[in-house]
Amino acid sequence: MRRTIAAVGTAGLVALVAAPMTPANAADDATVSVLHAVPGLTVDVYANGDELIPDFEPGTLTDPLSLPAGSYDLQVFADGDSPDSGEPAIEANDVEVPAGANATVVAHLDADGNPTLSLFANDTAATAPGEGRLTVRHTAAAPAVDVRADGEVLFGNVSNPDEGTADVPAGSYSADVVLAGTEDVAIGPADVSVAEGANTIVYAWGSAEDGNLDLAVQTIDGLHSAPGGVPGGEAGLAPESDGAPTWALGLGLMSALALAFAGRELVAARARR
């Protein structure tokens, strides 16, 4: 199993923010999805003072939004409140969204159970043929965890708000989440289907204390690549010659000769008259 593991936390967010900035125009849009992973609170999401997502329920993911690259002030209000009437439940200012980025904004609980916003960069690099990418993000009010696939630790010691990502053979995996370094199962086991040519992003969310830990899934497809080739036969029983078939060449040559001969005869016959 080929495996590339990267643990990206706040460092990853900083890297995304540090990406080169370009003036915002239609060609420089970023693709942004928003996941609501704060239990028990229906919210309205505002970007730069305008309502972006109304009546947003926990456990819900938006379709990818095409947003102009730039700097965003994000505010999350309890449903019904607005910038004019109340204080935001969660707030993140100057969130930089670089041109061409594919990112997910997640409203979730931090390790201590306080609502927060995190911006994750989604890896949309091409996957090898036959493989899919599995990304697991810790966005739950819970201690560090190990993420296991088919009983084997795939991502070890992942803390909120870090992630682990790996390219694995496409297929279904029995996944569970245990407290780091233990066998204490916090979530699962659950069957996670890793589609070929897609990044399957699994979020652990909720609160261990409140007993509402859960999994949410986001899929980004279109990352596939073609197989390296198609093998052929192995016995060499039916090779093709590279050029025209031999019989065609022979027939052509003989026909040309016969035509030349006939032409000469005709000319000779005419001359005799």
């Binding site: 849009d29 693709t31 996941l35 305008d50 309502e51 947003f56 819900t60 993911l61 938006t62 379709d63 990818p64 939004l65 095409s66 947003l67 965003y72 090898a128 043929p129 036959g130 496409a170 659950a190 070929e196 979020y203 999994l215 899934v217 497809d221 279109g222 990352l223 596939h224 073609a226 197989p227 390296g228 080739g229 198609v230 093998p231 052929g232 036969g233 192995e234 016995a235 060499g236 029983l237 039916a238 090779p239 093709e240 050029g243 078939p245 065609a248 060449l249 027939l251 052509g252 003989m254 026909s255 040309a256 000769l257 016969a258 035509l259 001969f261 006939a262 005869e265 005709l266 016959a269």
Partner: protein, 220 residues
């Protein structure tokens, strides 16, 4: 020699020339090129909705639970190519250890690339069937007759739900084994059926057959 005899020889010779040139052309000449630009794979599933700051309510959303329903499987189980009398079972295959498309070891069975679209898929794109030309243990398979297929002939694919998808051959192309275009495995754009086997010279010391023979067919 009588003029009539000479004229007969000339006519026969002309016919011979025509036949030989036609035969050579069908082997050497460019196939019937019906190509349409392939769109690149989309990087994101979809994008839409109102841009930030427009004040409009946003695009769709969905429950992000783990229990997403799987579409019922619909896969090719059999393929027939009328005029060349190819009739073969089809089974799903993936990718081999070496990154090449996996093929059933039996040359009488074709593999369907299960990571790509099935016939009639909403996404369009390329349905890929491929098989070994021959095997050391089982000898020649039916795909040896693929090279005799011509543009305009029919290919029928039977699916696991009992339905049949019909295609018409558009062109035959040959590619060096190292240079099979990735677009043959396109997962979007107009639907195409690609039937692939090997061809060209057989050089045992250079990996065997040197080319891939690719039949491209379009839905009827």
């Amino acid at each position: 020699m009588k003029t009539r005899t000479v004229a007969l020889v000339a006519a026969l010779a002309l016919a011979g020339l025509v036949v030989s040139v036609t035969a050579a052309w069908s082997r050497l000449g460019p196939g019937l090129e019906v190509r349409e630009p392939e769109a690149g794979p989309p990087v994101s599933a979809s994008s839409g909705g109102a841009p930030a700051g427009s004040g409009e309510s946003s695009s769709g959303r969905s429950r992000a639970g783990l229990d997403a329903a799987q579409a019922p499987e619909r896969r090719p189980v059999r393929v027939t190519m009328g005029s060349v009398e190819v009739a073969a079972a089809v089974r799903p295959v993936g990718v081999a250890q070496d990154g090449q498309m996996q093929l059933p070891p039996d040359p009488r069975v074709l593999g369907w690339y299960r990571f790509g679209p099935a016939p009639g898929a909403a996404t369009g794109g390329s349905v890929v069937l491929a098989g070994h030309l021959d095997s050391k243990r089982l000898g020649l398979g039916p795909l040896v007759r693929l090279r005799d297929l011509r543009a305009g002939e029919d290919i029928e694919v039977t699916l696991s739900d009992g339905t049949t998808s019909s295609y018409t051959v558009v062109e035959l192309r040959r590619f060096d084994r190292q240079a099979l275009p990735a677009e043959l495995f396109s997962r979007s754009g107009p639907e195409r059926l690609h039937v692939i086997t090997c061809g060209g010279e057989y050089l045992p010391d250079a990996g065997g057959y040197q080319q891939n023979l690719v039949v491209t067919a379009a839905p009827v």
